[in-house]
């Protein structure tokens, strides 16, 4: 099945690479990596992280950092799309991915409850009012469907894919789609306990890679049917053409060694788009920098696209932003298609011979219509999105 053409009329992104798309692309262009130690909470863990250093005051909601990050990206995306802050007259859906943003995990709240059997309800109230998709839906009066996807690290890619389905099935004309996640003590210590965080800056697909770095941020696309955009007098040369999702059915945290789920998800996204593997001009890989992820992903990419495929991981610029990763990477992928270049795969220096495939080492010109973004997640979730530039026949 080939999808209808769904336009990308707006993009917004916030991460350690920059507080908007322009800033982020500038960082990517010069290979600037804004990592540092954790500053937003006290921790004995000394891993490098990619924090967002500045959230504009108007979006900074106390105790709701994930929502604050989402607001930054959504505002930028809506502005680019020429949409107002009151969307009640349009059929707009909201589909956002997250991990931390959906958990009731306030340490102080729980500490108080453990000690005394009672706790102040402020953290609970913030949680109950902080479901990301519901919050954004109410804030912008977007009355078509809303849905918060919690598919771990593929959450945002799956949210974007679900929004594509909504538009293709007429549930809405426009969708605010992507993901947001804050850096949290829970994920830092949890990933640390799994032994997959690097104490150095991450080096996706490198022979000496030691693991991932955590990050935070948000990435949001405004997806829109061609007829809706035409009605608003809006045009775009960027499209989301396909989405694939498949389960590994293998393990709670490790990717399936034969990469079956990832392969199925990529094939489905290509089929949705009505294209073949040779139509893809680059891949923005999940590329976390862990031994297992990069091994499986590298093998699948080589299998499907051959050794010469241009690919990269942008996690060297943002860290692994978990539920936001697919959104941030979707924005970077679409922006790269538009600009005609991809940045160096930050952190990559030495080819891993066992992979037989290597990401780009420097800013690289790209020339083609289609690009792929992949996400692999805990739970064996795999998601793939295909983006296109300019006219599709």
């Amino acid at each position: 099945m080939k999808n209808n053409n769904v336009l990308i009329t707006g993009m917004g992104v916030v991460s350690a690479a920059g507080s908007n798309l322009t800033e982020a692309l500038a960082s990517l262009k010069v290979e600037k990596r804004n990592a540092g130690s954790v500053s937003i909470f006290e921790t004995p863990l000394k891993y490098p992280v990619f924090e967002v250093k500045k959230i504009p005051k108007e979006f900074d909601l106390a105790g709701r950092r994930t929502i604050s990050l989402a607001l930054c990206a959504v505002n930028e995306a809506l502005f680019m799309a020429g949409l107002a802050s009151d969307l009640s007259k349009l059929r707009v859906g909201v589909c956002l991915g997250t991990t931390v943003g959906s958990q009731l995990n306030g340490r102080k709240f729980y500490e108080s409850y453990r000690l005394s059997g009672s706790a102040p309800m402020l953290a609970v109230d913030r949680y109950l009012k902080g479901n990301p998709a519901e919050f954004i839906s109410r804030k912008f009066k977007a009355h078509s469907p809303y849905m918060t996807v919690v598919n771990a690290c593929s959450s945002a890619s799956d949210a974007i894919g679900a929004a594509l389905s909504w538009i293709n099935n007429g549930l809405c004309d426009i969708a605010i789609a992507g993901g947001a996640d804050e850096l949290s003590r829970i994920s830092l210590s949890g990933f640390g306990s799994l032994g997959i965080i690097s104490s150095d800056l991450c080096a996706p697909f490198d022979a000496n890679r030691k693991g991932l770095n955590l990050g935070e941020g948000a990435g949001v696309l405004i997806l829109e049917s061609e007829s809706s955009a035409a009605k608003r007098g809006k045009s775009s040369d960027l499209y989301l053409t396909g989405y694939g999702s498949a389960s590994d059915a293998y393990h709670l945290t490790a990717p399936r060694p034969d990469g079956l789920g990832l392969e199925l998800s990529i094939k489905k996204a290509l089929m949705d788009s009505g294209i073949k593997t040779y139509d893809i001009c680059f891949v923005n890989a999940h590329g976390t920098g862990t031994l297992d992820n990069d091994k499986v992903e590298g093998a699948v990419l080589q299998n499907l696209f051959g050794k010469r495929i241009k690919f990269l991981s942008t996690k060297g610029f943002t860290g692994h932003t978990l539920g936001a990763a697919g959104g941030i990477e979707a924005v970077f992928t679409a922006a790269a298609l538009k600009k005609g270049w991809i940045p160096a795969s930050a952190g990559f220096m030495n080819a891993d011979k066992s992979l037989g495939i290597a990401p780009v080492r420097e800013k690289t010109k790209i020339n083609g219509k289609y690009a792929l973004s992949t996400s692999l997640a805990f739970g064996g979730n795999n998601a793939a999105l295909v983006f296109a530039k300019s006219v599709i026949s």
């Binding site: 453990r114 799994l194 059915a249 709670l252 739970g379």
Partner: protein, 348 residues
């Protein structure tokens, strides 16, 4: 889309037969003198299943039991597992395991937390276990929101089937009771201290926290075992009582909102009303259990009596029990902003 199979885990047991028995038996105050409608997993003896779930938490176990049960109940023998999707919905996710993880963090420090507990605290752990146990390679989605998570999941399943992303989909809801959640629920809402949820009180309301899971196997296909058709899922629909084609309205009133008066606007004097929360408890995902009651009634062409019939507003409650011709049932849920979501069920 059609409901081909249903799996259920609730305080009264596991399996659609146990639920049907509870519906037939009705509410018994002596049996239900509980302050939590908890699920006793020890009653489930399937060792093969438990072997695959030995590291899973209760949240995931309930979901897997219900999902596997739905697949079995459907009696669909040959499903291409690459064409089978999974959608898990929840209001709170595996919050008990999150608090377990916090226990480890507070007791032993951030350097010494448990990787196993962390892995199970991730929201999509349940869907991962379902995929693993059933060998599913199709699309997989876990969604979390407070009021309409089950309705949203059903809607998404319908979209996947319509666009042929999958041929079958296991779509369901799961939530687990935990001490902290119970504390919050009882802090914000009134506990039904007499052990009786009174769904038609509307204000003031009284609730009893609960846990459980329901899964449907849905498809565009129809089988001899089909429960019913899901005709549509609507959000924020006005003028509900105009739909006189409906034989029964099932409302999700269960005391889980301090004010449930919005349901009064959904109730028509012409259409009988039912609510089955007294059988399974007060849960944000209660819709899935009420919808299951509706699906059973359409399949069996028989009504199940209201378990608790306190009726201070004098509404037209379902009085009948037993065989009847039933064509359509609406399952209605409101949230605290008086927005609604309705699942329209139709005889297959």
């Amino acid at each position: 889309m059609n409901i081909l199979g249903i799996g259920i885990v609730f305080t009264g047991g596991c399996g659609i037969d146990a639920y049907e028995n509870a519906l037939i038996k009705g509410f018994n105050a002596e049996d239900n003198n509980l302050f939590v409608y908890s699920v006793d997993l020890d009653r489930i003896k399937d060792k093969n299943l438990w072997k695959k779930l030995r590291r899973a938490d209760k949240f995931s176990k309930m979901a897997v039991l219900a999902a596997a049960d739905a697949a079995t109940n459907s009696a669909v023998l040959h499903m291409d597992k690459k064409r089978l999707g999974i959608i898990v919905s929840s209001a709170f996710g595996p919050q008990v395991t999150t608090f377990d993880f916090l226990d480890g963090l507070l007791d032993y420090g951030e350097v010494n937390v448990s990787p196993t507990v962390f892995s199970n605290s991730v929201h999509n752990a349940a869907s991962s276990y379902i995929a693993g146990v059933l060998g599913v390679h199709g699309p997989c989605l876990t969604i979390t929101q407070f009021y309409f998570s089950f309705q949203t999941a059903l809607q998404m399943a319908g979209v996947w089937l319509d666009e042929e992303r999958c041929d079958y989909c296991l779509v369901g809801a799961v939530d687990q009771y935990g001490e902290v959640l119970g504390y919050i629920q009882n802090h914000k809402l009134s506990l039904a201290e007499d052990g009786r949820i009174k769904p038609f009180n509307f204000k003031p309301t009284y609730q009893i926290p609960a846990e459980g899971s329901v899964f449907f196997l849905v498809s565009k296909n129809k089988t001899d075992n089909t429960f019913c058709k899901i005709e549509s899922i609507c959000f924020n629909k006005n003028n509900l009582d105009n739909n006189v084609d409906v034989d029964l309205n099932i409302i999700d009133a269960d005391g889980a909102m301090a004010d449930e008066s919005a349901y009064l606007s959904a109730i028509s004097p012409k259409i009988p009303t039912a609510a089955y929360a007294p059988l399974f408890g007060s849960m944000m995902i209660g819709s899935a259990f009420n919808c299951t009651a509706g699906a059973l009634m359409l399949k069996n062409q028989a009504y199940y009596k209201n378990p608790v019939t306190d009726n201070p507003h004098g509404i037209n409650l379902l009085q009948d029990q037993g065989s009847s011709s039933i064509e359509r049932i609406s399952c209605i849920r409101y949230n605290c902003n008086t927005e609604n979501a309705i699942i329209h069920l139709k005889r297959a």
